[in-house]
Symmetry: D2
Subunit: 268 residues, 4 copies
Amino acid sequence: MTDPATTDGPDDYVRTSIGSATPDTITVAGLDLPSEVMGRLSLTELAYLLLVGREPTNGERRLLDAVLVSLADHGLTPSALSARLTFTGAPEAPQAAVAAGLLGAGSVFLGPAGDTAEFLADALAGRTGAALSDDQLREIARDAVAARVAQGERVPGLGHPVHRDTDPRTPRLYALADEEGVLGPHLRLLRFVADAVGEGRPRPLPINGAGAAGAVLVDLGIPPTSARGFVLIARTAGLVAQLAEEARHPIGRKVWLELEERAQPLDD
Amino acid sequence: MTDPATTDGPDDYVRTSIGSATPDTITVAGLDLPSEVMGRLSLTELAYLLLVGREPTNGERRLLDAVLVSLADHGLTPSALSARLTFTGAPEAPQAAVAAGLLGAGSVFLGPAGDTAEFLADALAGRTGAALSDDQLREIARDAVAARVAQGERVPGLGHPVHRDTDPRTPRLYALADEEGVLGPHLRLLRFVADAVGEGRPRPLPINGAGAAGAVLVDLGIPPTSARGFVLIARTAGLVAQLAEEARHPIGRKVWLELEERAQPLDD
Amino acid sequence: MTDPATTDGPDDYVRTSIGSATPDTITVAGLDLPSEVMGRLSLTELAYLLLVGREPTNGERRLLDAVLVSLADHGLTPSALSARLTFTGAPEAPQAAVAAGLLGAGSVFLGPAGDTAEFLADALAGRTGAALSDDQLREIARDAVAARVAQGERVPGLGHPVHRDTDPRTPRLYALADEEGVLGPHLRLLRFVADAVGEGRPRPLPINGAGAAGAVLVDLGIPPTSARGFVLIARTAGLVAQLAEEARHPIGRKVWLELEERAQPLDD
Amino acid sequence: MTDPATTDGPDDYVRTSIGSATPDTITVAGLDLPSEVMGRLSLTELAYLLLVGREPTNGERRLLDAVLVSLADHGLTPSALSARLTFTGAPEAPQAAVAAGLLGAGSVFLGPAGDTAEFLADALAGRTGAALSDDQLREIARDAVAARVAQGERVPGLGHPVHRDTDPRTPRLYALADEEGVLGPHLRLLRFVADAVGEGRPRPLPINGAGAAGAVLVDLGIPPTSARGFVLIARTAGLVAQLAEEARHPIGRKVWLELEERAQPLDD
């Protein structure tokens, strides 16, 4: 039987500090929503505050928004197509179409942001990040890459099916981080990781936008395990825009009818 | 057989202006992402640009962010609980937990933003919004309310299961809109709608935060049918924060075990 | 404050009769799972038992399975494509791909099963279904159709984007129902509904498979509001098969790359 | 530019053998749906046919249904609760509530079926399964367990948060498999795996129902990578039943209100 002493009292496990509401107040991140948040903080700033525990500086906010806008959309991705197709079958439930689009934001396309964040954070765990020299980072990079290879796993944050030489988002993120003085050890390490992976290859693998984004987020103090979730905020915005366009100029139904017409038997 | 003339050529139906990518460039909202968006626009501004076709003014951006932060979180909502419970069963797929949380953002809790936006927009359709007097709006409100009642449908944007007298977000949104000079006809109409519904009731129903948000979004030019999607961006941010906390201080598993222990047979 | 008298005790609201588990037992539908269900009931029979409260007869089970197999798959539907595309982005979470596919099973494609079930059940509410003559059903059909038209709503269960003359599933369902002696008033009414809608049209609209399925389910005693959920069981099976094939012969990635290549700007 | 030779012609990549439709026919698994499937195959049989390429024998079908009914429901699981909570927020979209419930069927609760299937299949890869003696299987089990431990990973298919001594589904699945003559090498190996893990532990870890189910499915010829998807069919049935009950006797809203009332600040 449930011990009543552990429910509905000071020992109750139901605890949260994200937000709460009473009949007359709404609190979020410990602040009164109407008077201390609305009209003062942007959504980006609130998201950071909830994940890190403090408000970002102006420079940090600029980088956060740069990360978010860089990952909001990338054309007719599998994620965007899935959202549009779901909308085709269920136009009465737009949240279902957005959810379907987010479900495809997994290990292949958006996952690299969080995977890279965690990879870099693990590599630097226990090291005094800021004081590391280039040589030290180079060595850490080599070790981390060797460990991934030994486990038969890919190194995250590198390569892109479309941007084969340079992902145009990456140099811009590095430049902005430098400009705002937040180019930290994770971003620096990621460059050496790319070098280490590139050794012995005819062509280096570029740092992709999601990987660079993951490094930025960790350098800004966002917990590595929250990086992948953070970029979902951006993807939601992109999907909402895709669906608004789909409602005006539908292509989902035409894609379906075209592919079903073209479909031929598969000889397995 | 598919007519090749309609695929892969100037008559191809596969058209989008949200974004695109080539090996060396990424375009979003018609702008070059790295040089014209990253470091200049916030996610909120990009979302607005994609939905409306122009960048928001400073005042408009302030209202947009006020709407978004006001709807990001509301404590342990069914949406937040669903996300936490999904994370309990599938911690390896955070996008699944966020998606599960968004799926509950339907007609009851977040839907009112879009429902109210569409309701107000329909009521003002074909009227020169800005030039309407209070008396005209009062009459439009009465007619719109009467029509909903005649169809046996509720008037959206009013009432809240927790905030029974005043939803604290509402007066703040109206004050900010007034301050920034964007208190438009939809926001004004909503007040008269609340009055019309309140007539003959012992207590008026308050305008809820989602309803006021919907009115703000339409007054700012966001297509009414995109309002519900727009607020999903905010909800994603709140859910990401809920999941970050769940990872540190899990309650999902405890909720499950407590409820399963308490469960008794149902005599149907 | 929560009244402890209403939690964890005889007045606790946490009640369910679907199933429960103790350390040594598992109960489902009031039966001991290992000894009374496993090896005796099929999944179809258990689903029916949970929704209706008794086990189906052999004839009823044959119709239930006929409904389910008829709605499991329909080629590369938007639902199947969405699942495959989600799998392309998140191959590590198959439940996400299946979920994405189900999300598109809304009002357009699978919804008609439940919509038709509810429509027919509403039309026959309070009438002694079995004793109704053809003439009575014809009149009920005309009234129900007229009411939908007056509300500006479509009559569910008719028409199909591919099967424009006859949906091949429909005559088979009627024949099987007749064979098994379960061709009830809802199936009979649906024919008169199709006739009523067809009056004054150059060509009649065929009863579609989902609509016929909805009528079968209600005639078999499944609550109308559960009909749409019931057919989701079938769609899950179809999606699992689509994903197994996608894993062997991926087309999701190629669809994405082809459409992104073909995409051209949209002049809005 | 897309090479037209690779689209809409014999080299087109759009190939599937799950199903297709023309205006007058529907094909699934290579059979004519109305005449060869409806009224003859159950959903379970069709699902197997689609995944394996042949119809199951009666004994195989009995085991398949035993697996499915054993995993359809387990009381108020996080999955069931998530579905009910989603329904609370979005009652207009039942497919969203089912999808939300499935999303939680991940690595913790339902994943073990597929994880165990893949683990056992990998261990027996390239061995002539049927001819293996107990001693050979014992050795294979020890090696496979040792390899998992060396990688710091858990052995799947063992243990359960509720059934700490014996999962009641397991002995029943083994008995049924034996009775039907399909107790194959994967089921046999799983016993030795449990023994190997149990060595050196004060108490053995029981084979859980999902793990035994995974072994059954592989012994029946279902591709290991499709096992997790297959059990989702069962979970969909259970969730549909949970939602039908929620519609009659809602607990989602009460859970929400109770937990929000009990929530206290979290000191992080």
